[in-house]
């Protein structure tokens, strides 16, 4: 039988499957039972099925700067992550609340009166100095104020098991296709695990997103608006996802040169001639979107697109300038924004974050930098992060000097001992750290897609879960109400 290692008793992180005293949590009873009946060879065989499945379908991502060829097969660990129904309902409410407030914030900045800044909830200078703040977005309104149609909110679980928001991704969050393909691969490799659980399906994403995109079409688009996905092309790291979403939604996948703007209307170049476009789900960054208004050297974008957005003839999702609301420096204020716009307490707390431009918080942080995590606000993908307890004195001194030089550019967070879950490493199922990126869709209303992308750090002790840095993923099951652990019999379990 494959060894299923429990976390060490003194290990500070919360383990998803095991209690502090080492007994299996009821939520995981059936799945642990099944997995402990597989031997290592069997697990490796099934892992092979998953890998072959991804390879055959070309489910890949690209690591930039990797000399080893461009495409890598998507890494998925075979031990699934489970979330109980009641727990999920709470997360769902929290995410919905958070994204609603963030959309209100964006509308307030770009098409409203800047009330939150005027009332001192967030300093105006902080908003205006954000890299994501976009003057071009002023006056660009979106139906239902859905500036962020697709949000990916990164959650982590602290030592007490409390879910906390680590980061908001309101620009171009990717990963949803992997959620759906992970489920498909899991179903192929473990056809019988589903007997023990009733799991919320994930196949409805295409319909859900399409409905949301249709609902933000400009008025006068008719009842079947023309929607396209704008991709940078086949060499982009997330091209698989772009093609996947186009297929799932049944819309065209286009590149910049396929679109042309005439008299503030965006058209698609087809063999029949030019066809007007209503909604563009773009997977290109703001700065590449329109060479007339942003980077003039961009060949990925569409000249004149911004003018069309302003004229209200086309809706671009997510809208431009969203980066201001997912700026790591704005993150500490989101709890206040929720209270300000919705009059509610935040359901999901933030990871405790200190802003370096406040002298008190900065000094307090400097006293214990070696216990904290130092993050540059402008980076993503896990780059540039200094983890205090792993850093040398010299590195800490450097970080301190950097912060002093440009406090706006840094935040410091409490270390969260990301929760762990058994993952197959070196022939043993061992606890590894993970996070969760659920996806929140906003159209006429805000909906949370069940589960999300669980990312796992495959290196022991590592807290960096990004796939570009060797992280893996897990199929994530939201269990239907009252449906965990149907109780598989022992002889039935090894299937």
């Amino acid at each position: 039988m494959a060894e299923l290692r429990k976390p060490d008793a003194e290990f500070p992180a919360y383990d998803e499957a095991f209690d502090r005293d080492g007994s299996v949590r009821p939520l995981y009873a059936a799945i642990v039972e099944r997995f402990s009946n597989f031997d290592t060879a069997e697990l490796r065989r099934r892992e092979g099925i998953i890998e072959e499945e991804f390879r055959r379908q070309g489910i890949t991502f690209t690591v930039y700067g990797d000399s080893q060829g461009t495409e890598r097969t998507w890494p998925m660990d075979l031990f699934p992550r489970l979330i109980a129904a009641a727990e999920w309902r709470e997360i769902e409410r929290g995410l919905s609340q958070r994204v609603t407030a963030l959309n209100r914030f964006l509308a307030d900045i770009y098409t409203g009166e800047g009330a939150a800044m005027a009332d001192g909830v967030v300093p105006a200078w902080l908003v205006q100095s954000s890299d994501g703040f976009e003057r071009n977005a002023f006056g660009v309104s979106v139906p239902h104020d859905a500036h962020c149609v697709i949000a990916g909110i990164d959650l982590v679980r602290d030592a007490e098991g409390q879910y906390r928001v680590l980061e908001d991704n309101l620009r171009n969050p990717s990963g949803i296709s992997y959620v759906i393909e992970n489920r498909a691969a899991m179903t192929k490799a473990f056809p019988r695990v589903w007997e023990d659980h009733t799991v919320e399906p994930v196949s409805q994403y295409g319909r859900m997103l399409r409905t949301a995109l249709e609902s933000v079409a400009p008025t006068g688009s008719g009842d079947k608006p023309l929607i396209v996905i704008l991709t940078p092309g086949i060499y982009n790291s997330a091209y698989f996802e772009h093609a996947f979403l186009a297929r799932e939604m049944g819309v065209e996948l286009v590149e910049g040169p396929d679109l042309v703007v005439d008299e503030h209307v965006v058209y698609l170049r087809t063999i029949e001639g030019l066809v007007p476009v209503d909604v563009i789900y773009r997977r290109i960054d703001d700065t590449f979107l329109d060479p007339v208004s942003f980077r003039p050297d961009s060949t990925l974008g569409v000249p004149g697109l911004l003018g069309a957005m302003r004229a209200g003839t086309v809706t671009v999702c997510n809208s431009i300038g969203n980066g201001v609301a997912d700026d790591k420096a704005i993150h500490p204020y989101v709890t206040d924004l929720i209270r300000y716009y919705l009059g509610e307490q935040a359901i999901l707390p933030n990871v405790e974050t200190y802003v370096m431009w406040e002298p008190d918080q900065r000094e307090a942080a400097f006293d214990r930098l070696d216990e904290l995590v130092i993050k540059p606000v402008g980076e993503s993908g896990g780059y540039g992060i200094v983890i205090g307890r792993d850093a040398s004195d010299e590195e800490l001194a450097d970080a301190r000097a950097e912060i002093e030089r440009d406090p706006r550019n840094w935040v410091v967070q409490e270390v969260v001992e990301l929760s762990t879950l058994a993952s197959l490493c070196d022939d043993v199922l061992e606890p590894r750290h993970l996070d969760l990126r659920p996806f929140v869709i906003t159209g006429e209303r805000t909906q949370v897609f069940p589960g999300g992308l669980t990312r796992v750090a495959m290196r022991k002790g590592s807290l960096i879960v990004n796939s570009s840095q060797g992280g893996g993923s897990k199929d994530t099951w939201v269990l239907a109400d009252g449906a965990h652990s149907n109780g598989a019999s022992a002889q039935d379990a090894a299937r």
């Binding site: 055959r56 086949i234 297929r247 590149e255 040169p257 396929d258 030019l274």
Partner: protein, 330 residues
Amino acid sequence: MILARHADSLLWAGRYLERADTIARCVSVETNAVMHRQATEARLASRRLVQALGLQDEFVAAQVGTGPYAVMDFLVSDDSHPGSVVSAVQAVRENLRIVRDRIPVELWEEANSLHILMQSAKSVGAAAREQTGGEVSRMSVITARRGCRSLSGVMTESMSRDEGYAFMEAGRLLERSILTVELLKSGLGTGSDVFDGNRLLAFTHSLQAAKRELGHSPGWHAVAKFLLQHEHLPRSVLWCLGRVEQRLDDLAAAAGAVATPRRRAGALRAHLEYGELDQLLAEPEAELSYLGSSLAELAGDVHASTVARSGFAEVHAQFVRPGDGTGRPR
């Protein structure tokens, strides 16, 4: 509705699919023949095949060795030039990848799987491949032929008969016609004593059908007539042109730009259908050259129809065979 760029990719996916299939088939026929031939004679025949496939420049540039399996290796596993099976399969995959969202999932998966298999053979290395006595390339040929058949099956059975299908099928049939004419040309001037009609028919996948109608040792004229004018054989140029015309008719409602290729296809079809082929083939070289260049122009017109209306500034160049007129291989 179809994006101009997608139409272009599907047209080329169809052309490359046919090319991969035909080269693999020719190599397979040739490999069986090599075993029963003298070395010099076998090499000469292989060179004629290289010429028929329009790859003589690439052949010289690649400095192909003199071993008995070197030519086969050049045609199958050498990805340094765009005319090999492995390169054609890669081009099919790249073109389908661009339209991945609009084609059946199975079509993409078949193309991707075939590409992965062909790449693994390529990774063996030319010298090692030669050492195996052509075994690696032989296996690749079997893989490629099987893969092309599956792709073709999925295409026929699962693709919606929309504009995308029309372009992909037109691409396949045009490429097939062009290759058939080139292969016929390669049989010219070999003298009736050397001319091997069966080999030519096997290259074009028509041997079985021809045996029933022409007997066992047909002469060049009979083979030419069969491959050019047969009404019911999907390998004949006349049949292919009829289908291309139908596909262009399908497109005509949507795309006015196909008017030119439609006219040309109709004229060329009529030339073959109503022309006295015996008279035409009195000067076979001239007739085949005329057919070859007309087909190439037709293919160019279809390609242009994917861009004309939408005013693409830049047409991405794909590997064009000699005689196709519009560009040089990348």
